[in-house]
């Protein structure tokens, strides 16, 4: 089996390995990604309950299982 002897990978090394890419590309993609995330968060803002603190406080459970 291929992974029988697999050593735990050091995550810092593999992160570096996967993040190598031409710089301009990265900047472009990051900008596109940021726009994408912003529009998702905007969309979610619209459906979030308005008073977070009161809403979370008023959720109380008893018993179960």
């Amino acid at each position: 089996m291929a992974q029988e002897q697999k050593q735990p990978r050091k995550s810092t090394e593999s992160e570096e390995a996967t993040e190598v890419a031409p710089e301009s590309d990265v900047a472009e993609r990051k900008e596109a990604l940021d726009d994408d995330v912003d529009s998702l968060l905007d969309e979610i803002d619209d459906v979030l309950e308005t008073n977070a603190e009161d809403f979370v406080k008023s959720f109380i459970q008893k018993g179960g299982e």
Binding site: M1, L41, V56, F59, G64
Partner: protein, 502 residues
């Protein structure tokens, strides 16, 4: 040796009457269940049959006496709370203060996902119907496990196992598996500690609520390995492993891997194939330590002295499972077993490199990524109420409110089943277990089904004084292949009963 096994999940939903934090949750839960039952079940409503229940039977070989049991353990008492069987073979009922949905018995992980998702839709449908009744209230339901103030409610898994497997083996091999599997199955939580007052994010909703390694209770002194032994099947042949240490998952891949990988490990335990001792020191503390570290770097100490992360511990189980499937089945392994193995490996590899890369597959990562995006955009600290709200609203069952469903609709989360399949599974039973017989009887002969349970359907037939019980002890009989033609052919309950008993 495969992922195929008789299994199912049961989820208690958090409940809240909008604008009325002091509303009685038992009343609200009853309204939800009754509204769904009245609207969808034709004619008379079959009762749940409590005859064969034995919630105090302990897998270690004895019964707890009713006098010493906590009242919450007496789940075989008919308290008059709403409790119905659906045409898809599922059970919908009020469990103390929560509406609960138990999937019908199925035999593949993908079918667990499908009938569990159907449960979310049943709950949503039920709450909508409850609001439409005269004097109806707006009720919100959450597929989560804690109110963040000290209360926790469960998402339980059930797996039928060979009776001949020593229970000590189950405890030994499953405990480290459960301590570590939350890196795949956790649904993520804002807040640390049972009351959530500690600041930060953790992997699992449930881990802070476990206090002992082995035990019968589910509501107090919660154990990592639960010993309830109530097989709802031939007890000489089977035990039912009742797993209470999981989170309620919304992500389809999380649920799929939760039951798929557990089924594989159980098969190995039954076959005596877990050849390494993976026992961890202080499992209850370890369960919390793993949950409290979303970077997944925490090292657990094994009893043999090794120190491994939870992901590495999961990799040990994966290697054993791969080898066991190859040894036992080779090229004959079924597609879903191979798929679970491949996904499990892929998920663990990526969790080790970059946990956030799993945001499209696992609940806790999807939630964490969303929270981190909010933190970064709005400069929020972990104790900001908005983050607690996002945590809660991730699990709201209303499509217009659910943040999980919002991510799904935005194409950000992988799906394993389609909306059309989920819609069908709300009403249709799985074809390959006894749930098929139960569900079809409810659908076709509702007027004459007096009661039903996992292991029986009880008919009240015209002209007969006593009720007639059809036992369904074998979960793998009563399938479409077995009785489909018979059910199609028999127009009345009487005709079916005669055909079955002559």
């Amino acid at each position: 040796m495969s992922v195929r096994r008789v299994m199912g999940v049961e989820v208690e939903y958090g409940i809240s009457v909008q604008g009325q934090p002091q509303a009685n949750p038992m009343v609200a839960s009853s309204q939800v269940v009754n509204a769904y039952a009245s609207a969808t079940l034709r004619a008379r409503r079959a009762r749940w049959d409590f005859e064969e229940e034995s919630p105090l039977r302990d897998a270690r070989g004895y019964d707890v006496s009713r006098q010493v049991a906590d009242p919450s353990q007496l789940t075989d008492e008919d308290l008059g709370l709403a409790n119905v069987i659906l045409t898809n073979g599922a059970r919908l009922y009020v469990d103390h203060a929560h509406p609960e949905y138990s999937t019908p018995e199925v035999v593949t992980p993908r079918d667990v996902v499908l009938w569990d998702k159907a449960g979310e839709q049943v709950m949503h449908d039920a709450a909508v119907r409850a609001a439409q009744l005269p004097g109806g209230q707006q009720i919100a339901l959450y597929k989560n496990n804690t109110d963040g103030k000290g209360a926790s409610y469960g998402a339980h898994e059930n797996y039928l196992m060979r009776r001949s497997t020593p229970f000590a083996d189950i405890v030994r091999h499953l405990t480290p598996f459960f301590v570590s599997r939350q890196v795949v199955t956790g649904s993520g939580r804002v807040g640390i500690g049972q009351d959530g007052r500690g600041v930060g994010f953790q992997v699992s909703q449930r881990s802070d609520f476990f206090e002992v390694e082995v035990g019968l209770e589910t509501t107090l002194k919660r154990p990592i390995i639960n010993t309830r032994d109530e097989p709802h099947a031939d007890p000489e042949k089977y035990r039912r492993l009742h797993v209470i240490v999981g989170d309620a998952n919304l992500a389809e891949v999380s649920t799929y891997l939760k039951v798929g990988t557990t089924a594989l490990v159980l098969a190995m335990v039954e076959d005596g194939a877990v050849s390494r001792d993976l026992a961890v020191e202080s499992p209850v503390a370890a369960l919390r330590e793993v949950s409290h570290d979303p970077t997944l770097r925490t090292l657990l100490t094994l009893r043999d002295g090794r120190r491994l992360t939870a992901v590495q511990l999961q990799m040990e189980y994966l290697e054993l499972a791969r080898k066991h499937v190859e040894d036992r089945l080779g090229a004959d392994a079924d597609a879903q077993t191979l798929d679970v193995l491949a996904r499990w490996e892929s998920v663990l590899d990526r969790l080790e490199r970059d946990p956030l890369s799993l945001a499209g597959e696992l609940d806790w990562v999807a939630k964490l990524k969303l929270l981190e995006q909010y933190r970064s955009r709005d400069g929020l600290e972990w104790d900001d109420a908005k983050l607690a709200l996002i945590d809660l609203q991730y699990s709201d069952v209303r499509p217009e409110k659910s943040l999980h469903q919002r991510l799904v609709r935005a194409g950000r989360m992988e799906r394993l089943v389609t909306d059309a399949e989920v819609e069908a599974a709300m009403h249709e039973p799985p074809p390959d277990t006894r749930a098929y017989f139960r569900g079809r009887c409810l659908e076709k002969y509702a007027e004459h089904v007096a009661a039903a349970s996992w292991d029986s359907v009880i008919f009240d037939l015209p002209g007969r004084e006593s009720l007639q019980r059809i036992p369904t002890v074998d979960p793998l009989r009563g399938t479409r292949r077995h009785v489909g033609e018979l059910l199609d052919r028999c127009e009345t309950a009487e005709a079916l009963f005669t055909a079955l008993t002559q």
